[in-house]
């Protein structure tokens, strides 16, 4: 038993790690730096670099010594550029390099003809590697290391041809990190360990405070939907099970499929149009008193009813064909008695599992209901964030939702182990 609990607890570690890793892959590796998204189109590369520096986007992804800089984005020429003997190529920096940092200039270069030689001239800065390089007529990478001085300045960094003619087709500049593990991934773990989910790109507000502010309105909407839907659908499922395969059951099952098939959007739009606008049963929009919640809750329950009803009906019918039910009938119990005294308690196990495991999803609120009815919860927040590509907010909501789910499934399993002696992990 203790072993089970310990193993189950340990199992949450790779899960949480996996969630963090997936969000990292999604937002950092695939998404890249949101700088240009956040700052707009007409900003200087220096501002972008500062943004990256603040949020750690200018570090290497996983690990490594070298990282690219926006001062000179990697450039690949479609046609190789030819330099004749005695001429120079000046690396065009978009903004001054940082003081006191090591940089590396990489050029894909070759000699045109034979025996060419280039020399790297970093101005007043110190060259850390051999500045001269003899070239063959094959493409090769020339690497030149240099260190910037105490003052940052726009020193010209030159590549000068000493002998023969050369061609080059790719140029890049990389900055050396103080440590190889100083990466985006480590930075990400670091901020998460401080329980910091970053700041919104749009409003510059802490994501954690945004989440805290949104959680209550969200729960005010989702909790009534959840429990109302649960009670209603279990009750209807019992009705179906009682008259299984006769007309009330068939009607309900067909209705359930039909309800399920109506698109969620259509539910909301028609509900708002008819019940609030046409018939004036409910207020249309806003979040001022409890009656503003009535309509979204009603719509939420109705739209989820079909799927839930079918699920609970299957669960109850699974039980109904078991031997103990036959025994109960055989000793002369009434159908209703069997249903409520024997079947329902046994069916509660999968129902409770399903319920507990769905609880963490309550927190994200209802994406559409909130934005349609103007409820300032996390669903509306996420929708706005997605529409404005506010990566940090989306990531925060996704992360917290996923971790809540991991915790909820842990709690469910532990409760099972406590209650049901048959449960053992593998």
């Amino acid at each position: 038993m203790t072993r089970f609990i310990i193993r189950r607890l340990l199992y949450t570690i790779p899960m949480v790690f996996g969630v963090i890793l997936i969000t990292f892959i999604l937002f950092n590796v695939v998404g890249g730096s949101p700088a240009s998204m956040a700052l707009g189109k007409n900003v200087s590369p220096q501002a972008l670099e500062e943004f990256d520096e603040q949020r750690g986007f200018n570090k290497p992804l996983l690990f490594g010594w070298w990282t690219s800089t926006r001062a000179f984005p990697e450039r690949e020429f479609a046609e190789p550029i030819t330099l004749l003997v005695g001429s120079n190529f000046t690396v065009p920096f978009l903004f001054p390099l940082r003081p006191d940092s090591r940089y590396r200039l990489k050029v894909e270069i070759r000699s045109k003809g034979t025996g060419a030689r280039v020399r790297f001239l970093p101005g007043i800065w110190a060259a850390l590697s051999d500045p001269a390089m003899d070239l063959s007529s094959h493409w090769q990478w020339g690497e030149f290391l240099f260190k910037t001085g105490t003052n940052s300045g726009a020193e010209p960094v030159l590549l000068s041809v000493e002998k023969g003619n050369i061609e080059f087709r790719r140029v890049q500049i990389e900055r050396r990190m103080p440590h190889w593990s100083d990466s985006q991934l480590v930075h990400y773990f670091h901020t998460l360990a401080r329980l910091d989910l970053g700041t919104s790109l749009m409003t510059n507000e802490k994501v954690t405070t945004m989440l805290k502010r949104g959680i209550l309105p969200s729960l005010a909407l989702t909790v009534p939907i959840f429990f109302g839907g649960l009670v209603l659908s279990v009750a209807l499922a019992l009705v179906c099970a009682y008259w299984r395969n006769r007309w009330p059951d068939r009607v309900f099952v067909f209705l359930a499929v039909a309800l399920m098939s109506v698109n969620y959007l259509v539910w909301i739009i028609l509900g708002q149009f008819f019940m609030a606008y046409k018939w004036h049963w409910f207020p249309i929009w806003g979040f001022e008193s409890w009656d503003y919640l009535l309509l979204p809750v009603t719509i939420g329950i109705l739209s989820g009813l079909g799927g839930n009803l079918r699920f609970y009906r299957t669960v109850i019918l699974d039980e109904i064909y078991k031997d103990y039910v036959r025994t109960a009938f055989a000793k002369g119990m009434s159908p209703a008695g069997v249903l409520f005294r024997h079947v329902l308690p046994n069916a509660m196990i999968p129902i409770v599992t399903n319920t507990v495991i769905a609880i963490p999803f309550l927190y994200t609120g209802s994406l559409l209901l909130e934005s349609f009815f103007g409820i300032p919860g996390l669903g509306g927040l996420s929708i706005n964030a997605i529409n404005s590509s506010d990566v940090e907010v989306v990531r925060g909501v996704v992360l917290v939702g996923a971790i809540l789910y991991v915790v909820a499934s842990l709690v469910t399993d532990l409760c099972y182990a406590l209650v049901d002696p048959r449960v053992k992990l593998r």
Binding site: M15, S261, N263, L265, V266, I386, V397, V398
Partner: protein, 314 residues
Amino acid sequence: MEECGQSLWQEAWRDLRRRPLIRGCLGIIVCFFLVALYGEIVYRYYQIADRTPSYSQVNLSERYLPPSLFRHPFTKEGRLWAGVKALAYRPWGTDNLGRDVLQRTIQGTRIAFLVGVVTSLIAIPIGVLLGCISGYFGKGIDDLIVWLYSTIESIPGLLFILAISMVVGKGIMGVYLGIGLTTWVGLCRLLRAEVMKHRDRAYVMAARSLGYSSWRIIFRHILPNVFHIVIITFSLRFPAAIGTEVFMSFLGIGVQGEPSWGIMIGNARLRLWQGIWWEMAAVSAAILLVVLAFNLVGDALRDALDPRLRSKEK
């Protein structure tokens, strides 16, 4: 084995055809499929002809035409052709920019089917491959795959899809990838459990003792025996994918610049308050019909193909 498999499928097919409701649903699906195909042809035609498609052409003099079959009175000359034209001219009305609602709904059908098919082509191979591998080999690789899918499962589904498509970029590609890369989990889990049951059956033992490779055993011997799960999953995930696409396009991060159902709903929603009901009605009815038909057929397929359920019901 081949024969045994066929008889299960044949029996299931017979079961399905006996029920009139399911026959109707299959008919609806076939009709919508043909409509989608027609939409694709129209779409390709305008693409090749390099013209603005008639379904996105703005015609401000014909805004908000209500649905009507006989918009133009019959004329004397060329009576038949004029009649056909009168029938076919904006039969389901026009929207706020004078575009034909019926044609746009047809294009919406095309996009919905495209999304259903393409996301299935992404999700089902992933689910089948990972599910079979993890069920058959077990041990470390099983742990790894279970870890992968439980991690993905723990992330709030819709938000995850939206986040993926936000990162990939707005457009139909984001819809494909978002839905395709997240919805293989259910299939993978089901197949893993089923393959585990089959792993130690006599026929697998026999194949193994004949020296067949693991891949051959998985894909030639076990997979045909669990393939009904794939079929059922397909028929149930198809409408779900359509629903998600509608949702995403409605939010504006799905299909761009083409009349998807979601975009039409977003458009029609604003006009509903002015009493322009036909665009909303057309789209809602189309979604309802397709999704309902798929759901009913999926249920019927599950009843017919899942022997465990069948023995219980009879």
